[in-house]
Symmetry: D2
Subunit: 283 residues, 4 copies
């Protein structure tokens, strides 16, 4: 039976990579459906994402890729098409992004397996009513209990086998330790157009500055607040008529769809970390 | 013969302003064509822009407005419709914004009278060929000659009666003194989405940060670089594929139209300064 | 206690309207918070929306407006600020727009009172789980039962006192009779950028045409399918890579927010019918 | 000396194409800089654009591609990087698009060689002053002289060796004969968001329909007016305040940049015809 696979590759750029990879897929009986690549001339690093179909398992592909990986110093991964990413979502009081992700997942648009929702407020604080059977974890936090609470988050990640943690307007700042633990596998939505208005109350900062557009940014979390590699951003025009509440209202939309797009691209292996930046083979 | 007038008003907000202004216009024989207002609840200040037509001169309107101005502590101005703003444009090497403004003016889209173009490079450095009969002033500048060069700019403003100075990718930083001299009457186009990437080489800064959108900002110039009240901004999506040169290329478009819109609104009296921000009755 | 009111006015344009209306509000003790107007030079019709606050009831305003209405042949309405519009939502199988409206309402962003949800499919067909205590009406329809089903819709409107009917991806074509019955009080979301791709399967039509942008349009329903006055539209770029399913997926977003904005403006009295078009004092 | 080449390929899709093409480039000494491909599952046709560099000429690549072309029934073309497309521009009275293209070309942004400008009005009718040394051809047209005028256009194309004809707001409708003659090599800018508002005065049609967005569409010309494969489109929000003149004014911007983008993509071999649609490997 024909199955679909995604192969992601990155390595130092030099002639022969595409020939090698496409040859390996061809020899394994695969037919390439989609291939995107990028050659970063600044860093000399090559990135590729190939989707191919194969009647049955791709014979000998793993061995062929291991040989290529040796020859080209490749980082690579082969992911079967139907495999869903296991995701843990952290949220605080504003749950519009959570609700959006839940709906997109229920509809089958986001191929992920939400293994848990953790919130520093109790269940009743959320306006989103339907989390179905997804385990809910109330993880309250104070200045003093922060290390213990973060230890519980780590434990939750390990226990659930979560491969991605989404900070869906989770308003607590992760410690350097937790940020490191989650390095490369934690996406945050910041409610501004970074690098403008980092930190707290960005809509109020934006209002004070009198900008004529607001935005939202989805990025990988690093130890530095709101500094991590950006995955996706969107903006919308605003005017002098918009009070901070209006910016918050208009911003919810942008936050939800920016986070939704970024998460969708991550779980379909379209995003590559490239130093402080990302390569995104968007769809 | 029916003529059109624009009346701009601002004052502390309280009941009766609209009634007073519309009454004064009605009594003067005017018919309101367009009226936009904004009541800034934060600062308690009211702003209004009224366009009206009048067969002949608006009888007694000036006196009526002076009475209202006394009663309401109004700042106000009455501008006859056909009056063009006198504009001095400063430019450096990149003249795409200048070319855009010249074309828009020639077409009659920007109702301004360009009284001069000053450039810190000689005429031949500009790719824009057709400045027609507009006086061109070569004002070279070095660290040492800056005070003298700025004195020439001031003199040019005074001699030409320029009411607005446009920094159309004029890359020299104005001294505090010149910025003060031009306070409220100088619009700059900064090639980033402020407050991101102030200062030099914003496209290179943007590229390094790995943002997924670039933008341009037109703002009034103040003593603080790139801090002045924002008039207009626009953005465009970019990707990992865009090198700094691509950002520069895509950015030119945005800079030109953002500056063009901001200038157009300023010279049609649609922009009000409101502390560190602007009110813009856009069209 | 200070209360907020919205006053909407339209009439043939002539001098004195603004003076009259603002005078009436001032005399009644009101202070204008926001005023938007438009003078349609083509049709000679004037439209105004004023929001004002008043300590206590606006004394004598109704009488003053009735006098003005007589003098200026005005259509006018005075709406107390806290009054929510009663809304009936019709939906079919795709309930993303319904879910969006429910969430926005629950959050307090859309000030409406949803008096019922009617669907031509049973409750279980909807992916949106939480309609809370809102009455759900299963109104199946076939070619033969259409007149009876539409009669039930009319009855539902009358019984619930619904002032607005929202077709939130309700896929049945209203008969001329029902469209007339709902004239001026029924908003539909069409999943294309009208007037492109009217009728069935617009995303498939768009895909076949090879357009590079898709969109959605919220409009008032009239007897002519997808011809009614447009309230709001938005678009998004797509590419050759987007199959019809991708257009559907990307389109859901646009449909939801376009419908949400249009409904929001309607229930806050920001939309005026102007022949085949609308005036929208947007926020 | 290292040179850059662009290779474009299209053929029926089947396994082995990418391996074949990348192998041929590798064997010829080339290093792939950029590769974009698309597999149209609907039509079963494959499209690829590869940019590669080669120290010296790509040895044996032509022969290798001819073998592959035989095996895969490929249409293919190899273009040296520095080769500029020869372009003839047709214009009528509104020359904002022409001015834009001239400026972009002069700046080096559009790598084309403008071999002539033909206009149905005399030179003096154009507001754009600087066409430099580009040959200007006044080709007046009336209902009776149309066949002769079109014959002159054809002759001009042949004499100049023009590979692309740009209709830059050229307002004459091409006959079926001329459209056929120019098939695949003529780009038109239509001042609406197709398929809305085909034909004459689209801004006036848009105004009458009361749309809330306007747009422009760049497309290949076919015998059917405004029906040809779309290359690029963009839109902008408008409101009830915009009169037809305002739509025209705002539309000029969109027309210029949409045409500029489409032409840029065509002359850098990023556009493939795919039946009634296009594949665009945009940058």
């Amino acid at each position: 039976m024909t199955k679909t696979y995604t192969l992601v590759v990155s390595c130092p750029d030099r002639p022969g990579i595409v020939r090698g990879v496409s040859g390996a897929i061809f020899d394994a009986g695969g037919n390439i459906l989609d291939s995107r690549q990028f050659d970063d001339r600044e860093t000399g690093r090559f990135f590729q994402r190939v989707v191919f179909e194969c009647p049955g398992a791709p014979a000998g592909l793993t061995e062929a890729m291991e040989r290529l990986a040796g020859e080209f110093a490749m980082d690579w991964k082969l992911i079967p098409g139907e495999r869903k990413t296991r995701v843990l979502i952290l949220v605080s009081k504003f749950d519009h992004c959570l609700g959006y992700l839940l709906y997109k997942t229920r509809m089958g648009e986001l191929p992920m397996d939400i293994v848990g929702i953790a919130c520093n407020h109790p269940r009743e604080a959320l306006a989103v009513s339907d989390i179905g059977g997804i385990p809910f974890h109330h993880l309250p936090i104070t200045k003093d209990t922060k290390p213990a609470q973060e230890a519980r988050i780590k434990a939750l990640v390990d226990e659930t086998g979560a491969e991605l943690v989404i900070l869906a307007r989770y308003m607590q700042i992760l410690s350097d330790d937790l940020a490191s633990f989650l390095s490369g596998r934690c996406i945050n939505i910041h409610h501004s157009f970074l690098p403008s208005f980092k930190g707290a109350k960005p809509y109020h900062q934006a209002h004070a500055r009198g900008v004529k557009m607001i935005g939202a940014t989805a990025h990988y979390v690093t130890a530095d607040l709101d500094e991590g590699p950006i995955i996706h951003q969107a903006t919308e025009a605003v005017s002098h008529e918009d009070r901070p509440d209006d910016l918050v209202r208009k911003g919810r939309e942008i936050e939800s769809r920016v986070l939704g797009r970024a998460v969708g691209w991550h779980i379909t292996h379209r995003v590559f970390l490239n130093g402080a930046k990302t390569i995104v083979f968007a769809n």
